[in-house]
Symmetry: C2
Subunit: 144 residues, 2 copies
């Protein structure tokens, strides 16, 4: 159950061998050792680490952020404040993206409802008209 070569590890965590080497370049994982011929050898811990990476990615963290989380995790004595800060920042980031998408969605939904579909031509389509019209941006008296 030890001395995992990169291929075995990759199969176990369902990632490509190339991906593992890529993560290494990115500073996310390192093999425990190498054989004389240069083959990477991983310990069981590597599997945990890779699952950590995957879970963090699923939660929306970029690989750079995952690297940061991992390095914090590697120093168990340190304050959790930084982890909390990263998490808060990611939440804020996600909230912004949700709001943007909500805005797009409601704009599109409003247009979609008015579109005649098969019952009309593109010339009458309010979606295309909206895209052709000036967006009403009448705020600020535009002095200067």
């Amino acid at each position: 159950m030890e001395n995992l070569t990169i291929g075995k590890l990759a199969r176990q965590v369902d990632l490509g061998v190339e991906t593992l080497r890529y993560y290494e370049r990115r500073g996310l994982i390192e093999p425990q050792s190498r054989t004389d011929s240069g083959y990477r050898l991983y310990s069981e811990d590597a599997r945990e680490r890779l699952q950590f990476i995957r879970r963090a990615q699923v939660l929306g963290f970029s690989l750079d952020e995952v690297a940061e989380l991992l390095s914090l995790s590697d120093r168990p004595e340190q304050s959790a404040a930084e982890v909390k800060r990263l998490t808060r920042a990611k939440i804020a980031d996600i909230e912004t993206r949700i709001l943007d998408l909500e805005r797009m969605k409601s704009a599109l939904s409003a247009l979609e409802e008015q579109c005649p579909g098969h019952a009309g031509t593109t010339a009458e389509c309010p979606i295309l008209s909206a895209l052709n019209q000036q967006a009403p941006e009448p705020v600020n008296g535009d002095i200067a």
Copy 2:
């Protein structure tokens, strides 16, 4: 007010000259004509078209999709059904992305609330613990 060179047009719509040439390569716009020396000359319509592009992008359409919308818009006799279909698909797409983000956000929020921050160490941080633990994925009896 006519015979816009690429630079003038770019300034008017606040895009880079390179971007306009890029849009041309992507099949989104074409100059009305060229000078003998090969300079692109645009009509006023180009401005509308570029604003169309921008508005469609803001609504979440990719340049490929914008190209499709433009070509539909260029055939005013055709049924609006295709425009409606594209719009619906985009709405569905956005909804999926919102749901993904909502899921991330609630997972992160739950963890963030439990994190002690300055009051604790990374070893006690539930965010890192969660990333280190197996995700509870106990659905399906895993036969086969």
